[in-house]
C-alpha cells in the first residue's frame, strides 16, 4: 500500500474514533438533536421587553472591551520595549518574550475564570481578563513592529549619539505608531466579542446576561440579546475597518 493511502486511512480511522469518543454514535444523544425544534420555537418571537437590559449589558461589554484594550495596550507596549532586540540586552529580551508567550498560552476565558475566583463575579474580573489577554497578544505584535523599523532610520538616529530610550522616543515609536494604532483598533473590535465570551463565566457584560437567560430558559429574550449583539459587533467591525483603512494603511 502506498504511503499516501495509509495516511488517508489513518486520518479516517482517527476521525471516526473521535466521533465515537464524543458520543456521536450514542443513539440517545443523537435523538436529542430533535430539541432544536422546540428551542428555536421558544426563541420566536424575540422578546422586546428585555431590550433595556440587553442594551445596558452591551454597554457594559463595550466599556469592558475599551478599558481592557487600553490597559492591555499600555502593558503590552511596556513589555514590548523589554522584548525588542533593538532595545533590550539578550537575557532581558529572552525573559520578557517568555513572559509574553506564557500570557498568550492562557485564553481569555481562562483568565476570566481566574479573576472571577480572585475578584468575584462582574465586569471588574472581565476587564482584568481582557487586559491580560490583550497584553500577551499586543506585546508580541508591538515588539515585532519595533524590530522591523528600517535599519537606515535607526543607524541615522544612533549616528547622532542618541541613547536607546531616545531611539525609542524619536525613531522606533514614531515609525511604528500607525501599526500600533491599527492593531489597537483591531484588538478592540476583537475584544468586544471576547468580552461577551468572558461574561459566560460570570465576568460581567452581555455574556453574563446571556448565561442568565439560558439558565432561566428565557429563549425569546436570548434571541433579542443575540440579534442586538450581532448588530453591535457588525457596526463596530465596520467602523473599525473604515478607520484603519483610511488612516493606518
Amino acid at each position: 500500500m502506498k504511503a499516501r493511502a495509509k495516511w488517508r486511512i489513518a486520518i479516517l480511522v482517527l476521525f471516526f474514533f473521535s466521533l465515537w469518543q464524543t458520543g456521536f454514535f450514542d443513539p440517545s444523544r443523537v435523538a436529542k438533536i430533535q430539541n432544536i425544534g422546540p428551542f428555536l420555537a421558544g426563541m420566536l418571537p424575540p422578546d422586546p421587553t428585555i431590550l433595556p437590559q440587553v442594551l445596558s449589558a452591551i454597554y457594559e461589554t463595550v466599556v469592558m472591551a475599551f478599558a481592557g484594550t487600553l490597559m492591555g495596550g499600555a502593558l503590552g507596549l511596556i513589555l514590548a520595549v523589554f522584548s525588542s532586540r533593538l532595545l533590550a540586552p539578550l537575557p532581558i529580551m529572552a525573559l520578557f518574550r517568555t513572559i509574553l508567550a506564557l500570557i498568550r498560552t492562557i485564553p481569555a476565558i481562562l483568565w476570566a475564570l481566574i479573576f472571577v475566583v480572585i475578584a468575584g463575579f462582574g465586569p471588574f474580573a472581565g476587564v482584568l481578563a481582557i487586559t491580560f489577554y490583550t497584553t500577551g497578544y499586543l506585546g508580541k505584535l508591538f515588539y515585532e513592529a519595533f524590530d522591523s523599523v528600517s535599519s537606515e532610520v535607526l543607524e541615522a538616529v544612533r549616528g547622532v549619539g542618541a541613547s536607546r530610550l531616545q531611539q525609542l522616543r524619536f525613531a522606533i515609536l514614531p515609525e511604528s505608531a500607525n501599526y500600533i494604532l491599527s492593531q489597537l483598533l483591531f484588538i478592540f473590535e476583537y475584544n468586544v466579542r471576547a468580552s461577551t465570551i468572558v461574561g459566560l463565566v460570570g465576568a460581567g457584560g452581555v455574556g453574563y446576561l446571556i448565561l442568565a437567560l439560558v439558565q432561566s430558559l428565557k429563549y425569546s429574550g436570548l434571541l433579542t440579546a443575540i440579534l442586538i449583539l450581532l448588530a453591535f459587533v457588525l457596526a463596530i467591525d465596520f467602523i473599525s475597518t473604515k478607520i484603519r483603512g483610511r488612516y493606518f494603511t
Partner: protein
C-alpha cells in the same frame, strides 16, 4: 593642513574570507569636499560606515584628530561630530521636520528633557536657523512624509548640521535627485565646506559633478582605491576610463 579623520591601512571583511575593503588609506581635512566613485558593491557604503564608526576595521586603524578610535572616549567624540546620511536619508517619516532636525541635538540634551520633547531654547533657535538656511522654514511643522525627495534630503542635511559636525558623510547622496536639485544640494555642501570648514565625503555615480565640486576624487574598485586625484585636475574622461575599466574587469 592636518587631518580630522584618517583611515590608515584599513581592511574590512563581512565574512572573514572576502575583503570588501583592502588596505584603504584616506585622510580627511577640514573644509574639503571628497567624492568617492565606484560600481555597486565596490565598497563605498562600507567605507563610509567605517569612517562613521558603525563598522570596525578588520585590520588597520581609524584616527580622529590623530588618536585611534579604538579608545572609547575618542570613538564617542568622533561619533558625535561626524554626521552620517545613509542612502535613503534615514529620516523619521512620522514626525515633523523640526523634530527630525532636533534629533541632531540629542547627544547634547539631558535624557529626561529630550524624552519629554523639551529641547533647550538655544537648540530650538539653532534648529530654526538651520531650517531657514536650508529653505525649509515653512515646512517645519509638517510631517516628513508629506515632503518631496529633494526636501527630505535637505531635512537629512539639516539634521546632520544640527550635530555641529566637523565632517558629513553622505551615501549615494545625489543619485536619486533630478539634476537641478542635485546641483542645489551640492552647492549647499560646497558652501558648508568653504564657509564653515565642514569636510564632506560623498559617494556617487554622477561623474559629471566631480570636477565641478570635489576637492578630491577617488575611485574605489573591488575594495581598493584605483584613482585618487585632485578634483580640478580630473577630467570626466579619466573617470569614465576608470569606471569602464571597472566594468570590463568585473564582467570578465
Amino acid at each position: 593642513m592636518s587631518s580630522i579623520l584618517e583611515a590608515r591601512n584599513v581592511w574590512f571583511t563581512y565574512d572573514s574570507r572576502n575583503y570588501t575593503l583592502k588596505d584603504i588609506s584616506l585622510s580627511i581635512e577640514a573644509g574639503k569636499m571628497y567624492m568617492v566613485f565606484g560600481r555597486s558593491g565596490a565598497g563605498k557604503t562600507t567605507l563610509l560606515k567605517i569612517l562613521k564608526g558603525i563598522l570596525k576595521p578588520s585590520r588597520g586603524v581609524v584616527l580622529f584628530n590623530g588618536r585611534p578610535t579604538t579608545s572609547i572616549d575618542t570613538a564617542k567624540r568622533a561619533y558625535s561630530v561626524i554626521g552620517y546620511i545613509p542612502q535613503g536619508f534615514g529620516i523619521v517619516s512620522n514626525i515633523s521636520v523640526l523634530d527630525n532636525v532636533l534629533v541632531g541635538a540629542l547627544s547634547r540634551v539631558p535624557l529626561l528633557h529630550s524624552i519629554l520633547g523639551q529641547f533647550p531654547k538655544e537648540e530650538r533657535d539653532r534648529a530654526e536657523e538651520i531650517l531657514e538656511i536650508m529653505g525649509l522654514a515653512q515646512f517645519k511643522y509638517q510631517k516628513v512624509s508629506q515632503l518631496s525627495g529633494g526636501q527630505r534630503q535637505r531635512v537629512a542635511i539639516a539634521r546632520a548640521l544640527m550635530q555641529k559636525p566637523q565632517i558629513i558623510l553622505a551615501d549615494e547622496f545625489v543619485s536619486q535627485l533630478d539634476p537641478v536639485t542635485a546641483i542645489e544640494v551640492l552647492d549647499v555642501f560646497r558652501r558648508l565646506a568653504d564657509e564653515r570648514g565642514i569636510a564632506t565625503v560623498i559617494t556617487s555615480h554622477d561623474i559629471h559633478l566631480a570636477s565641478r565640486y570635489a576637492d578630491k576624487v577617488l575611485v574605489l574598485r573591488d575594495g581598493e582605491f584605483k584613482l585618487c586625484r585632485d578634483g580640478r585636475s580630473v577630467s570626466e574622461s579619466d573617470l569614465i576610463a576608470a569606471m569602464r575599466e571597472t566594468f570590463l574587469e568585473s564582467s570578465r
